[in-house]
């Protein structure tokens, strides 16, 4: 059965609405948007992912929390589990920007890295 679905692209601040023509689960055509938007839609309809930013506890630093983020978009369905893992963690100062604080988080192959020096 042919259906049309609207997907709002979150790749950049423009926030374009893309029209997706589908036959069952397979994508026939994507209208509107740019190249990045089209690959976002492909990804979003098969394996939705999000960048995740949070904090982990840090000892001996200026603040009690170190901001961290996923180096690549993370599987959406596993975000809450990731939050649990991050809450259980603690690191020691000093930490450098980009330093891996949790490698291969939840076996996704995605590293969690520090957002700043601290």
């Amino acid at each position: 059965m042919r259906t049309t679905e609207n997907v709002i692209c979150i790749t950049c601040p423009k926030g374009c609405t893309l029209e997706v023509l589908k036959d069952g689960e397979s994508i026939l055509e994507i209208r509107q948007g740019c190249k990045k938007g089209h690959s976002y839609v492909q990804q979003e309809l098969t394996d939705p992912r999000r960048m995740v930013a949070s904090t982990v506890k840090i000892r001996g630093a200026l603040h009690p929390l170190l901001p961290v983020y996923t180096l690549a978009p993370f599987p959406k369905g596993k975000i809450l589990e990731l939050m649990k893992a991050l809450r259980a963690m603690q690191v020691d100062s000093p930490v450098k920007t980009g330093q891996v604080v949790l490698p291969n988080a939840l076996d996704t192959g995605i590293d969690i890295i520090a957002s700043r020096d601290m």
């Binding site: 709002i8 979150i10 999000r50 960048m51 700043r116």
Partner: protein, 425 residues
């Protein structure tokens, strides 16, 4: 670090606008650039904006706020920008004199050849949207909650209602949800979303947080702590429609109802403000109506993207540096003409070195003591005599004129001070 008495460029605020201005000022060739920051570290509000989405335009990278800030902090420090942290600027004069205070250093009195105002903006509060009802604990601006959750490690509540669909409000709705709180809904008085569409998708839709357009918080319920809020639909004139009231239990109300450029200091410096933007009137160099005072970033008008704040900071910093360099050149061109042996005073008091390119310069003086025999009038640089002239005698009542000819231009360039003497031949 020892704070100097005078700087080429002083930047007030170390957010993205201030850091970009300081970096640009250094790169334009200013030696002495100082950033004054009231927090204990550089970076501004970006440090609490731990979500990503920064830098897509100018860095072509999707960075979290702290990473975006880190780049500019590192660059500024690497270039030798000086910093005064944990210090509050109390006053700025139109003559570019700055008074600041800090717990460690006491009072600072700093002169600046040019100033870049980069104080950013403040959040609108409950009183600015005239929200009635009692005043229990649990009503916070979204940015305050953001600071607590992301930097200081406190949760401001467990069950939230967010008023206003600005980006910070939506981003905090997601953040609080991820930290285990329940966000009941986001309420927006306008018929449309106030923030970016992408934030509606990734912050609200992803976590099933309802958005109610054309609704507002009518009153706050609770005496010691927020217990609930009353939400009501509004008509086209934003008036509550009676009969649509709904009590929503919650312990915290977050306000994300707009930002206002922070211009308390600008006003003190005599900077004129545009009532529409809330920020200074500026030209394309981001110079305000006060010569030598520039402004950059959200202090001018509230931007959507930090990238544009950085760009504005670069322009303001370059312009402020150019102003300071021009002023320094002008200061350097002028050298004092001082009274030497048996001279009471000389006019003019200062000499513009470049004047000699236009022709000779005539100076006039009076002696202290009469000399009733032939004298020599000498213009000296230290011991070197640059110009001399004979007179039959010297009397205090009779002014002496000496002409500095163009041909001594090169000798004058070498001097930092010139003195005039009248001695017996």
């Amino acid at each position: 670090m020892k704070i100097k008495q005078k700087y080429d460029v002083v930047v007030i605020g170390s957010g993205p606008g201030g850091l970009a201005a300081a970096i640009a000022a250094k790169k334009t060739g200013c030696d002495d650039v100082l950033v004054i920051e009231r927090d204990i570290e550089l970076g501004g509000i970006l440090l609490q904006c731990i979500h990503n989405g920064f830098g897509l335009e100018i860095l072509k990278q999707d960075l979290p706020g702290p990473s975006y800030a880190q780049r500019f902090v590192s660059e500024a420090l690497g270039l030798g920008v000086e910093t005064l942290l944990d210090a509050m600027v109390l006053d700025v004069s139109p003559q570019r004199r700055i008074f600041a205070t800090s717990r460690k250093g006491g009072l600072y009195d700093i002169e600046a050849r040019s100033i870049v105002l980069a104080m950013g903006c403040r959040e609108r509060t409950r009183s600015q949207i005239r929200l009635p009802g009692p005043r229990p604990a649990g009503v916070f601006t979204a940015g305050t909650a953001q600071r607590w959750v992301n930097v200081e490690g406190y949760m401001p509540g467990r069950r939230f209602v967010v008023l206003g669909s600005g980006d910070i409000g939506m981003i905090m709705a997601r953040r609080l949800t991820l930290e285990g709180a329940k966000v009941e809904r986001v309420v927006e008085i306008m018929p449309y979303l106030n923030g970016l569409m992408r934030n509606y998708v990734q912050c609200l839709l992803d976590y099933d947080i309802p958005l109610q357009l054309r609704h507002t918080v009518n009153r706050i319920i609770g005496n010691h702590r927020v217990e609930a809020v009353e939400i009501v639909a509004v008509n086209d004139r934003w008036e509550p429609i009676s009969g649509t009231e709904e009590i929503v239990p919650c312990d915290t109300l977050l306000l994300s109802v707009g930002l206002i450029p922070e211009n308390e200091l600008s006003r003190k410096a005599g900077v004129l403000l545009d009532p529409l933007t809330g920020g200074p009137f500026v030209d394309d160099h981001f110079q305000t109506n006060v010569p030598g005072i520039f402004a950059a970033g959200n202090v001018v008008h509230v931007y959507d993207l930090v990238d544009w704040v950085t760009e504005a900071g670069y322009i303001a910093g370059r312009s402020a540096a150019a102003f300071a360099i021009e002023l320094r050149r002008w200061e350097n061109r002028h050298m004092p003409l001082v009274a030497g042996e048996n001279v009471r005073y000389v006019v003019p008091h200062e000499l513009d070195r470049e004047s000699l390119t236009m022709g000779a310069v005539r100076i006039q003086l009076r002696v202290k003591q009469p000399i009733e025999s032939p004298v020599v009038v000498e213009l000296r640089n230290g011991e070197d005599v640059l110009v001399k002239k004979g007179e039959p005698y010297a009397r205090p009542g009779e002014m002496i004129t000496l002409t500095i000819p163009s041909k001594v231009y090169d000798l004058v360039q070498k001097a930092s001070v010139l003195s005039v003497h009248v001695v017996q031949r």
